[in-house]
Each structure stands twice: as C-alpha cells, then as structure tokens.
Symmetry: C2
Subunit: 377 residues, 2 copies
Amino acid sequence: MAKVKISDVAREAGVSLGTVSNALNHPEKLRPETLKLINETINRLGYLPNQSARQLAGGATKSFGLVLPRLDHGFSLQIASGAHNEARKHGYDLLIANADNDDILEDHYLRYFMGTQMSGVMVQPMASLDWHPAMTKIPVPIVHLDVHCSEPGYYVAADNEAQGRIIAELAIARGAHRIVVVGRAAFMQLTLRVLGIHKALALHPDIKIEVIDAGEWNTAADGYSIGTQIAERPADERPDFAIGLTDVLASGVISALTDKGISVPGQILVAGCDGNPLAWSGSVPLTTVAPPGYEIGRKGVQLLMEQIEDKPAAKTKRVRIGSAARTVTTVTATEDINRQELVRPFLLERVSTQKAEQHPTGPSAAPITDINLGAYL
Amino acid sequence: MAKVKISDVAREAGVSLGTVSNALNHPEKLRPETLKLINETINRLGYLPNQSARQLAGGATKSFGLVLPRLDHGFSLQIASGAHNEARKHGYDLLIANADNDDILEDHYLRYFMGTQMSGVMVQPMASLDWHPAMTKIPVPIVHLDVHCSEPGYYVAADNEAQGRIIAELAIARGAHRIVVVGRAAFMQLTLRVLGIHKALALHPDIKIEVIDAGEWNTAADGYSIGTQIAERPADERPDFAIGLTDVLASGVISALTDKGISVPGQILVAGCDGNPLAWSGSVPLTTVAPPGYEIGRKGVQLLMEQIEDKPAAKTKRVRIGSAARTVTTVTATEDINRQELVRPFLLERVSTQKAEQHPTGPSAAPITDINLGAYL
DNA sequence: GCTTGTACTTGAAACGCATCAAAGGGGCCG
DNA sequence: CGGCCCCTTTGATGCGTTTCAAGTACAAGC
C-alpha cells in the first residue's frame, strides 16, 4: 500500500505533474474536462496531498497554531472557540496544542508551530514571558493572549482592572459595608483586579475594605483557610461580602464558611473572578466575572490577519478588551430565576455587557455585543 | 529577517550540513565539542528547524492528530486529556483540531492530519461513519473513538450498554417503581443505553418502564416538552424516576417538572447519561453516568502505538471500555455531602468504578482504576 | 612506517510538491 | 494562408531537511 503521490495521479490521468498541482491549487486555470478527469483520478487512486511537501514548496499554508496552557479551563476554551470561528471565516485552519501547564511543553509546541510554516501562532502563556531571544527573530506572526507584555509585540488581553471594578460595583450595589478581598495578587492579572476594586471603592469611603493573603498559589485550600479565619471572627468583625481573586479561591471560601455554619449568601455574600466552571460545582452557586475569552480569541486572529496582510504595519499593537459581567448564577440560589433561560441557552445566568475600553495608544476594540453562550462551558 | 536555515548554521559553525542535522537528531554521534559548538551557533542565530522539510525528508514525525467534534463537551476534553498524557508518555506530540460539529470540517482536518505525515490520527466522529473510500487506503494508523464501526479497523468505545445498566440499577436502588426513559435512541450509542436499561430491569418485572420519544434531535426543548407531558398526568400515573438518554434531555425534563411545581428530587428523581457539564448548570444538580473519556483517549493512543510498533499485527482491534458511574452531584441537593471533597478535587461527586468489560474478540481492556478528576470539567 | 580499526564528518541524493517561464494548441483576423 | 493572441498545459527547478555511503583523521598495534 505505497503512498500515492502526485506523479502517480498525473501518469494515471495522462496529464503532467504541474497540471495536477494546478487542479489542486488553481482549479480555475484548468479546462473543466481536465479538472473533472483529474479529480476522478484523485478519488480513484485515493490520493492525499502531502502537506509537508506543499508547505515546503509553497511557503506558509493557511493555518494558525494556538497553544493553550490547559484545555479544561473555560476561559481557554472560549479563546479557542473565538479563534476557531474567526480563523475559519478567513479560510484558515486552527490547530490547537495543549501545553498542559508546562513551560517546557509550551515552548516546545510554540517552536513546533513556528517551524511548521504556520501562517501565524497564538499563545496564552503561563506566568512568565521571557521567551527565548531567538523567538523574536522568527518571521512568523505571533500574538500573545491574556498577558500584558512590555516588550514590543502584539497581544490581546482582558481588562482585568475592569473585572475588579465590576465585581466591586456588584458589592456596592448589594449594599456591602465591609468587603474582604481574598488571595494574593501574584500575577499582573490579579494585581489589576485588585486595583480595579480599589478604584471602585475609592468613591465609597464608608465601605471598609481588607485584603487577605493566604499563600503563594491561590489554591482552594488557601481560600478554605481564609474562609475559616473569617468564620472564626466575632460576628461583628466579619465582612458581609467576600471577593475571591479567582473562582477557585472563592469556592474555597464558600466551603469553609458553610462548613462553619455561616450561611452563604445568607450572612456573607461571596463572588469570584474568572468564570471558571471548575469552580462552579459546589452546591452554592457562585457569582463570577468572566473575561471575554471568545472575543479575545477572535481579536487574536484578527491581529494575526493584520500582520499577514499589511506587512509594513506597526510592529506593536495592544488590545485590551472589557470584561463582560457574567453572573453565572445569582448568589442566592433561591432568587428569582428565569426558567425559560434554563431551557434554551443552558446557562443559568444573567449576562450584562460592558462597553469595551479604549487603550490609550491602541485601536478601539469593538464593543462586546455577543457572548458565545453555547461555547462557554 | 530572512529565515535562517540549517546551511547557515553549518557555514557559521564551520561544519557540514549533515553534521548539524546529526546534532539535532543523533547527538550521540557527535564529539561533545562539536555538539556544543553547533548548539551555540543554533542559539546565536535563532535557528528553528523547518518541520515541513523534516517531515518530508524523514518520514513521519512523532506526533498524533486528534479531531474532535467540539471542544466544549466534557467528554471530548477528557478524551483529549487522556490522549495527551499517553502521547507525551511515548514522546509524541498531540495536535487537536476542532471540527465544530461540521462533517465537512471533520473530513478536512482528518485529511489534513493524514497528509501531514502524522504518525497517527484519532477521530471522534459525528454520527455517520461512511468515510470516503480513499480514507481506508491511506497508510496512516487511525483509531476511531466512541463509535462502533462494523468495518474493519481500530476503535475504542465506551460501553454504552453498561451506562444504561448502571443508571437503571441506580433507579432500582432508589426504589423506583415506575421509570420513564426520555428521548429517542437515534444513534447506536443511545440504542445501547436503552438496551442496558432494559436488561437491568428485566430482573425486576415489578418495575414499570416506559420510553418516551419527543423528537429527532434530543434537544433540551424535547426534554422540556416530555417533562411537561409527564407533569400534566394524574399524580398516580406519573413515574417516580426519569432517565434522560442524554444529560441535555434530563436537564430539560427537570426544568419542565419544577416549572410545573413538581419537586425534583422530592417527587420525581431524574438522572441522565453523558457527564456533560453543559447540562449541569441548573439549580437542581443532575445525577449522570459519565463515560470514561480519559480512558478512551488513553487507549486510543495505545492502539495507535500498537499499529506503529508491530506493523504486521492484526488489522482490526476493538476495545470497549466500561463506564464509570459518576454521580456528579447526588440527586438530592440536601443529602449528605462530604465537604472535604469539595475543597480538594473540586468536583462534588462520588466516583465508583466498574470493571472493564471484555469484548469477545478483543483484548481485555485494563480495568479503570483512575478517573482524571482534575481534567474533568 | 605501515596497517587496521575506530570515531567523526562529509555531501550528494532523495522526499513530494508549487511555481513559473516556456511551449503548445486553437481561434480569429487580415 | 500567415500572423497574432489567448487559453491551457508542460516540466525543470528549488524548497530545507534526513539519510547514508563514502570519506577523513587519528590512535593503536605490528
């Protein structure tokens, strides 16, 4: 069962090698009969073009690579979904690699994609951003997602500050008097969230705010221990609203509080940031602010296209996209819930959108008008 | 910024082209100093091997392709996760393509992968299985996932009959007297689930069973309409246990019942099949039987490896893997819940495993000992 | 000093295809 | 009938690697 190649098709069809190639790539150049004859032969022989050879001979193919840190995080999947749709719209393929939370693998796949003559590559990198210096020399369009690079380059990031602001405003609206922010602002993303929270609360000097740090990794256990600590305070020193810097933290807090007999949301309201489904499995639903992953993926591909199409464009472009406040489930499970919504989109939530923010030096990001509910986990 | 190629490295390092190639592929053949020199040059120049050329010249690279129908279904992600881990274990890369529920795209990516000289390809195909005849002529190892092909070939599938049996046994254990099965057994998978249910109930002639079909597509709306129909019956004609053939159906049923004022799980217990997180968002948690996606992905890669390693092996192998009964959340939300579990694995569930079944003509599937909790959405 | 062996290194030949300048074929006009 | 032009097809060339038979250098043994 030897592999059938283009020359086999040519011989069999009685045409030349170049003609078969044209049938594949520029069918409009061929006479209809010739094209038909060749296509029949291709099918009969079961010919499948060798992509490697095509790429080698013809330069980049129309495909993008996307390296994600994990596949089981809703945010990353939203990115993948947005990127996929946008890529297909432009006629590009999208290949996804799972870096599995491993820097080395991330680097590995990135190089792999760049070496495959992909038309462009996107990464949602883990914490650090110090690429191998060589990386910047590669003449392949690349876009970083969900980071804030200081180096020149393209990136698309969620407006984490806006996320903080939104969640703080939710607290204000709920009449909070004493707020705790749970977790360590270990990464830029989290720092910005805290900043947003502070900015929003600056207008409300009557509201007390407190940031509790419980450990380096912001694990659920950290959240649980902070929750325990809160629960053990005298009732009048407890907050009435807790904000987890991540959903995982928030989820840990909720567990601790309810374990200690404190009602959530009866006595303390808890909210998170991330829109991370992994953290939703508790019996107490969690209110969270989800970054617009779908939009980020979409915009990422658009930046790739930009780099491909107008080569001599600016070498740096940064896009920040506002967050959609997404109350995945209302804090109070017994609150009025529109059952109809449950039947259709299958996400028990109220979605309100927030206009995209303009980055001072960047282009205006399109306002977020749609949230891809279906694709969201 | 011209692309630096292997000959540039060779010239710069003062060695021959073949030596650089050896440095990359057979470093043990080189004198340590030479190797060091070449590596330094590679880094200095920012050389990145052209994967297309490598593949073209060297035959298949160590990478697998996986085509999934969607990315936002927990089952597919489990497959991806299992496949990824197993592939890495053997030193292979895994590239994922999202067919986005589109037959044409599925075919497209499949061909793409096969044409890229991948070492092997896996697909979780949508309904139909009539590949283009040419497909079977391609000398690339391929494994189908979650299907039951009649044609010769390799596949790994969940034991859907076992899923039905498990869910029926749950109903029996809960003391059900009157069971309805909701949905149309449109695909083989669903047919087998119904079969399993019937087999389990055959031992309990006292339990009444009824199958309600509401439409071709088993949508949430279908579930809702069946739920409504059930709710409108006189109380003594209502079932006390409803089984959705899919979680989406079950979710629709729950919505309808609670909308009509019937308590779930107070008056009617509802369970589903799939372990589909999309269907979990309701305020009433759903008990579901999840197929062991992680195991399926793992086994898929193992079958790929088998085909790669012992070429002259059997041309057909079929593996059926038993389902893990995974009660994502107990039917009664107020039931005893082990809070500790909530903090750690972040999946409020009880996992019980079921020994793998032996396919008459196949090899024995390894018993399922672990469920990849973390990777499960 | 010559031979044999060992340890590296070399470079030319594929790999399968896209490209493109050039050739071929046919119709039309003069 | 000849000349032109347009539409279609041809096939040699090169893409960046890997591979492998052939080469080189050096050391040990005689």
